[in-house]
Amino acid sequence: MTIHQTSLSRRSLRRRGFLVSGAAVAGGFSLGFHIPFEDGAAQAQTVKELNAWVVIHPDDKVVVRIARSEMGQGTLTGLCQLVAEELECDWSKVTWEYPTPGENLARNRVWKNFSTGGSRGIRESNQYVREGGAMAREMLIAAAAAQLKVPAAELTAANSVITHKASGKTVTYGAVAAAAAQLEPPKEVKLKDPKDWKIAGKPVKRLDTVEKVTGKQIYGIDHTMPGMLVATVRACPVIGGKLKSFDAAKVEKMPGVKKVVAIDGNAVVVVADTYWNARTALAALPTDWDIGKLGEVQQETINAMLKEGLDANEAFVGNKVGDAKTAIDGAVKKVTATYSFPYQHHVTMEPMNATALVTADKCEVWCGTQNGEAALAAASEASGLPVAKCDVIKLMLGGGFGRRGRSDYVRQAVLVAKQMPGTPIKLIWSREEDMTHCQYHPITMAKLTGGLDKDGNLVGLHVRISGQSILASLLPGNLVNGMDPATFQGLMASGVEAAYGYNVPNLLIDHAMRNPHITPGFWRGVNVNQNAVYMESFMDELADAAGQDPLAFRMKLLKPKWAAVLKAAADKAGYGKPLPPGHFHGISQVMGYGSYVSGVAEVSVSADGHLKIHKITAATNPGHVVNPAQIERQVAGSFVYGLSAALYGEITVKDGAIEQTNFDSYNMLRMDEMPVVETVLVPTNDFWGGVGEPTIAVAAPAVLNAIARATGKRVRNLPLMHHELKKGA
């Protein structure tokens, strides 16, 4: 690590002469490029950084730079905890800022990855951010040693104070930070043993709360600039369709309207003085679309396409042990079931938006994004300016859930701003535009066939998945000989990411890829979600066929870490012990995003078919725990997200377009349906796992399994709202 004698400002970019390698940048850059040198004398240098991660002001204020995006998941606070832990600073003095993706490129990607997805924020960056904190601490100690004229080895640092025990002399971080910033960083640092942590590992409060309870937090949609205009967009209602014509004259005289433009050949945009005026004019704008054959696609068309894949001869093999087909053919008992999982929408509470300002030699974007560097690439591509002349200033996200990993809304904002050079344009999508132009959770079906021997042991299992690949649509370069490995999330043979937990002597898990025209995307939990519904529901069906308890049946098959986390939830929930009359337990487990998770749902179903989810007991082994309070919130929140999907989440297609347009046609869990969630943390402290996503996958199967116990009805097609749970129905 090198020391950079620079100071950052989030508001104004400082460019320097660094040779930049953009090879690892998402979005299509592959060559090194040179950023032009600007006049260094003009740069206001108030406080020098200790390194890319840490700036300490004379008043002891600590600014931690965070590359990953905060979207509610708590990564911001967790990463600050890890830096502060090694820095040995006073936690009450810690604040934070985002470097920009442009600054990252200009500094040879010193902050590494900005992408915030796959529950990777902490698990993938913990090592280098802790090293940043530790190096800064060593530099502060070295500066204090010089000032106090004592050997550095005789100094200790704690709580932003450096102490020389023998003399009793102390010096604060703020007093030596400027001197420390001039020093060479140590070649290497030793990180603390997590058992010695004082700030990390503790349930400290989030750093971003007060702004969020006073209305002061600025999200992308709140951003404003002098002279800014507001735009809103309507893209072709059928994804893949084109704009044929529009009659701008009909709306150009309406209040506040400044301009009507077409972008990308598939969308019209009204630019006005306010969102409301833009929206009102857009609603009155006559448009004609070229939809073609796509307009003939119905939900039934897509369903038929997937059904065909369930028994197709050709399929990509994702996990294979022994000879499943022979074992199943020779089994004493054979069980088969077919499941389906619909398209779903992320529904961030804040609709998509971005503000762009394009001039002849510069393109700047202000937005919430999960992938700052991809947003930067999109800004460059849309503006036609080299990436060195573009930047993205990241703002708080009103929810991400994978949706803001895509940069379609950034591209649109820049394309509009490019047509009005020098005028900042804030593009806001209506909720209706947002609902109908997402990258949806992919649609799949699965046919599972299991064979049991005479003692009820599982001797063979075939899981055939049929349906959509995310990678084929969004990242085709990541396909492996045509196969989408991510389709098998949670069912993979091995690895630290999402491995299958059951020891099945003869196993075949394969995927018949069927890609409808609806664009799929990464949706919190991604493919673990439906794979867990298929696998964990079917495990209960197999246990029933074997005449065994579902927990006991699983425990015979599960590998140790998977078994331990399932047992932890079952024990805490009192699984197997008497429940209130009419209450039933359902269980599920999965490994995903590096962590092991499980859930026990306690439900009742009334005589008239009303489902009540009373309680969820959830266990998580994320390896190391950075903030237990935030993990509890992620786990509880995962049930809201996962159960919203299980109960109500369904996007359907009619005449090629998305049928659901707003929250009246796309329902979500509200407070009255929220079960009590009790979280059990069982960390084994031997790996770094993610937390934001894995638990979502256990929500639906735990509840579906409990419903089956309560009613005898096995729900195999989500969402639940289509199923009558009433007895006899």
């Binding site: 509610g72 309870v213 209305g215 999200y219 969102y275 804040e350 509880a636 929140g637 809201v640 509200r670």
Partner: protein, 149 residues
């Protein structure tokens, strides 16, 4: 020019009379703490008080407000001191992304004004705002804590 009584001040705006109160607050009066979520009064992100009543401002034409008193999230801690509900929110570390929380807090403030000791059923009935991060458990905890404060 028309006048709105917002957070104890008479504020001028030039919006079309049929513009929803939400957009007048956000775009004319720069009070962006009140959020746009759905525009059809389903999610509650835009909840403000009109004469103390929790109201979804996306469905209120500005000309229907008259001289009634509008309170937004910015008006709660107007003197810089958090209300007991905001304080309970901080103590329970409620917000995640935080986008829905202005509306949640405005709804909870109206609930506690009407029912100082709400039951869980009262909370379920009054708090119909949507939160996608899933803060409901902490929202409930904070409302009960504020009721005891």
């Amino acid at each position: 020019m028309a006048v709105l009584n917002v957070n104890g001040k008479a504020l001028n705006h030039s919006a079309d009379p049929r513009t929803p109160l939400l957009w007048v607050l956000r775009e004319q009066l720069t009070l962006t703490g009140t959020k746009y979520g759905c525009g059809i009064a389903q999610c509650g992100s835009c909840t403000v008080h009109i004469d103390g009543v929790a109201t979804r401002s996306c469905q209120v034409p500005v000309n229907s407000v008259g001289n009634r008193k509008v309170t937004t999230i910015e008006g709660l801690a107007a003197n810089g001191t958090l209300t007991k509900i905001q304080k309970a929110w901080v103590d329970a570390d409620v917000p995640q992304c935080g986008y829905c929380q202005s509306g949640m807090i405005m709804a909870a403030t109206a609930l506690l004004a009407a029912k100082p000791k709400p039951t869980d059923a009262d909370i379920d009935a009054a708090m119909t705002n949507i939160c996608r991060c899933g803060t409901y458990q902490q929202v409930r905890e904070a409302i009960h804590a504020a009721a005891k404060a």
